[in-house]
Symmetry: C2
Subunit: 309 residues, 2 copies
């Protein structure tokens, strides 16, 4: 959904993976689900701003998936369709619904992914670089103007295999998001405040350290903001929660239509926590797709009531 | 310290263990430290209310330990001194400063501990039953009048070995506190809200589920309150954090001198998080002993600023 009263131009561009997932939990196994970081992030962002996706799928990408993007008002001008099959991932969650094992990864068309930013996206004020190879994240940065605000997600694989490229990307973005273990791995520090300061010393003004079911923390020169996770009754499928969190907060920031202030980030991160909580309540995008601005505001009010003493 | 303007009577009684600890972390090893749940809880509570301890030590209990209790204004009328040696515990923390292995436990006089509530404590309005055998917790409940508010801590050992006794205690207290794994073990549920509802259905009005470095959650009929952990720069020794948290929040409630309302609990839990954060910054009671009402209020203000959006 476009945020009312905003221009029709794209406010937020999201780059990342699009996949067809098979997910097993102790309770249930589901095949051929729409997944990938871009799908989750764009779906979450779509409630707050006009969002465009940059990703690649194969010729087998099911029409019901693009229909879903359309239904959510996600612009797909940056969606490439290449000869071959769509990226596929299969994983199984442990009893605790946190730890998971990857059963299979078929990169398929994603192996040769070269992100192309459509002309109409190049002036978008907000950019979310999903968790892809730092070299590709850098390619995207070359294709855009000077966005108001760029966030980059990353993961342990790139810290291990592409540290130099990652540090280059980190030096050129406003916000970096990664999980607690990755923050320690990247910085060599243990305490999260020290990890965050190490990262900030290399460029970004903000660092968001994700702690899964325990929420996240925003670090800046002005201190720490503790972002809780919204406590859902039951987690049915945690896949995509981190992507929806990032998409939700970047979407919210983009919808504000101004250079974000710290106060904007704090509120946007709570919106991110809210949309992520809808995601984990169902498989794939089922939980986020069915929301409305009203259900999101209602859960946001509930979350505020849980944290304000 | 007695809370100013309160009566000289004991406002909070804490029952539990007193021990001499040897603690090793990856960075440091320290011997013959004052420890035990009562020591940590009373030290934390002493900043907010007049607190009395019930516990047992051996003839070898060092005078500097009772001096420390005295210095902190902790009443020791309930401290029994028995023939034999004081309880000793030795443990080593992993690199993550969370997981620990017990190297040795010498129960000594604690093995035959039979808590006796001194007459002058029997009408104390607040009671914290530290983590001891449920049978002993029940003995304490028989010796007191009808306290305004009773909280009980417990652990996995009692869930396994004394479930019936534990359920009896749970049915007779206002608040139960335990960690997330124990809440799941006790209730057979997985989601923490469900765990808490199961426990509340067996008696207590409030359940506080502790999550270590990730804070805690307060459950009641009126919903959830998310208690963050105060993010310290460096954890030097996590021993006693949970006890200080419980002592801090019960001390704060006791200092208010009224039947606590939910709003009181929310604020008191944040004070608990603050005093626990001072504890983990140093070994033993070193971190909490050196605080003042001013340093506590200052960190409380900092914590509020980290959670209010």
């Amino acid at each position: 959904m476009a945020a009312p009263g905003k221009s029709n131009g794209i406010q937020l561009v999201v780059v990342g993976s699009i996949g067809i997932d098979t997910v097993a939990t102790p309770a249930e196994r589901r095949e051929d689900l729409l997944g990938g970081s871009v799908s989750y992030a764009c779906a979450a962002a779509s409630y707050f701003s006009r969002v465009g996706m940059v990703g690649v799928v194969g010729m087998d990408f099911p029409p019901w998936c693009t229909d879903l993007y359309d239904r959510m008002g996600i612009d797909t001008a940056g969606l490439q369709r290449k000869a071959g099959s769509t990226f596929r991932w299969s994983g199984v969650y442990e009893e605790n619904m946190i730890d998971r094992r990857t059963l299979s990864t078929e990169l398929n068309v994603f192996e040769k992914f070269s992100p192309v930013i459509p002309g109409q996206y190049s002036d978008a004020p907000f950019l979310l670089l999903g968790n892809i190879a730092p070299g590709l994240q850098a390619d995207v940065l070359k294709q855009v103007g000077a966005p108001l605000f760029v966030a980059a997600d990353t993961m342990d694989l790139w810290i291990k295999t592409a540290r130099d490229g990652l540090m280059d990307v980190i030096s050129r973005v406003h916000l970096v998001t990664l999980n607690d273990g990755e923050a320690r791995q990247l910085s060599g520090e243990h305490g999260l405040a020290r990890c965050a300061r190490w990262i900030m010393a290399h460029g970004p003004k903000y660092v968001v350290i994700k702690k899964g079911e325990h929420g996240a923390m925003l670090f800046s020169d002005e201190g720490v903001f503790i972002v809780p996770a919204y406590p859902v009754e039951e987690v049915r499928d945690p896949t995509g929660a981190g992507d929806a969190f990032a998409g939700g907060f970047m979407g919210r920031l983009a919808g504000l239509g101004r250079a974000p202030r710290l106060q904007d980030l704090r509120e946007a991160l709570l919106y991110g926590a809210v949309v992520a909580s809808f995601v984990v309540e169902e498989f794939s995008l089922d939980g986020i797709e069915r929301q409305t601005p009203e259900t999101i505001e209602s859960r946001m009010a509930a979350l505020r009531a849980m944290i304000v003493p």
